[in-house]
Symmetry: C2
Subunit: 231 residues, 2 copies
Amino acid sequence: MYNNFVVEGEKMATEIIQHQGLELEGIYALNTWIAENRSLLAKFDSILHAISRKELERISSLKTPNSVLVVCKVPTYKMDLPTINNSLTLFLDDLQNPGNMGSILRIADWFGLPYVFCSIKCVESYNTKVIQASMGAFLRVKIITIAFEDLLEKVPNLPTFAAVLDGEDVFKTELPQNGIVIIGNEGAGVSPAIIKKASHKIRIPKGSDGGAESLNAAVATGIICAALSGH
Amino acid sequence: MYNNFVVEGEKMATEIIQHQGLELEGIYALNTWIAENRSLLAKFDSILHAISRKELERISSLKTPNSVLVVCKVPTYKMDLPTINNSLTLFLDDLQNPGNMGSILRIADWFGLPYVFCSIKCVESYNTKVIQASMGAFLRVKIITIAFEDLLEKVPNLPTFAAVLDGEDVFKTELPQNGIVIIGNEGAGVSPAIIKKASHKIRIPKGSDGGAESLNAAVATGIICAALSGH
C-alpha cells in the first residue's frame, strides 16, 4: 500500500485543495494555472511547485495532462460504529478492476453511503485509475481496508447482504435499510467463506428473455444500492 | 465503421463458433486448441488457420492472448418494428467509452432487451474492447447504428425516456414497460435536441446525503433497466 496518491485535472485538483479533510504533500502546476488560482493557493506556498509543461508531462499518468497535479497523503479513517450500524455500506471482496472500484465509490457517494470497506486483496483503492473513475467521490466516501471477519467482529449484529446469482430478489424482499452489501470479485463473485457468514443472500432478478450470465460488478452494485435505498 | 471484428479467448471463441447467427471470416488458433476442439471446428476447415504462439501474440490485442482468435463479419440487423414497439430497448446518444458500451450490452442481455440503438457518433460498437466487456452479449443483443430522428420516424408512437438529472423519479413514476431508454454521453449527458423530442424525462433518485454529481453511464443504465423491468 502506498502512502501517497495523485490527483490530476484542474477540476479535481481544485476540489481537493478546497477540501479540508485531506493532507496535501505537494501541488505541481504550470505558472499560468498558479496565476489564475492565487486565492485558492494562498495557504499552500510551502508545498507549491511551479513546473514546466514538459515536467508535468513526465510525471503525469494522463495522455494529455492539463495544468496541475496534486500529491496527497492516503487518509486513514476511524470506524464510527454507530454510523456504520445505522447506514447502508459496502464491502468489496477482492474487487480487481480500478474502473469498477471508481464507479462503485461514485455509486456510494450518489446514494450517500458513508463507508466502503475493501478486502485486503482488492485493487489499491487510491490507485490513479480509481481516483479518476471516482470523479471526486473519494473525498466524501470513507474507504477502509479490512478483512471481512474483522469488520464483522466490530458490528456483529448488522445485517450483511451477499450479492449472488441465487439469492432472494432484491426488489421483492423486505430487507433492512441498514447493513453491509457484499460485492464479489469480477470473475469469482463473493467467496464461499463470506457467503456462509452473510445474513442474507440477494440477487438482481434477470429478465425472462435474459441471456447474460452476470452483470458487471459496478452495475450490480448500483442496482442493489438503488433497490435497498428504499425503492 | 469496420466490416470485421475480432473475438478473443477460448470461452468466447467457442461461443461464437457455436452461434448460428454470425458469419465467420477466419479462425486463428494454436494446434493444441485445434486438436482439442475437432468436433466444434468440423464445418470450418476452409477458414481455419493453425498459427504459432508468436503469430498469435502478434495479431492479438490482449496482453496475454490464450489459444484462439476469431474474425467475424459485423452483422447488419433488420429492425423488427412489432418487437421494438413491444419491448424495452436502449438508445445510446454519443456514448464514448468502450467499457461502458460493453457493460451496457451486458445489461441489455441480462434484462432481455432485444435491441441497442447507437447514435452515429457512438464509439464503434464492435470495437475489441466493447466485445471483451460485453462478455458475449453482442451475440444476443441486436446493435443498430441509427440517428435518433430516423429511429423515431419508424416507431413514432413509442414512449422514449431520456435519462437526465431533473426528470421524474424512475422508481416512483408509473411508466410504460415498452419504450426506448435514452442514455447520454459520459460528459455531456443526453443532448438537448433529443431531450426535447423524448416523451418522458426520468432520473435516478439521489440519496439524501448523496454527494456525487452523476453516476457512471453504464451504472445508470443498469438501475433504469432494473426499475423499468417491472420493479
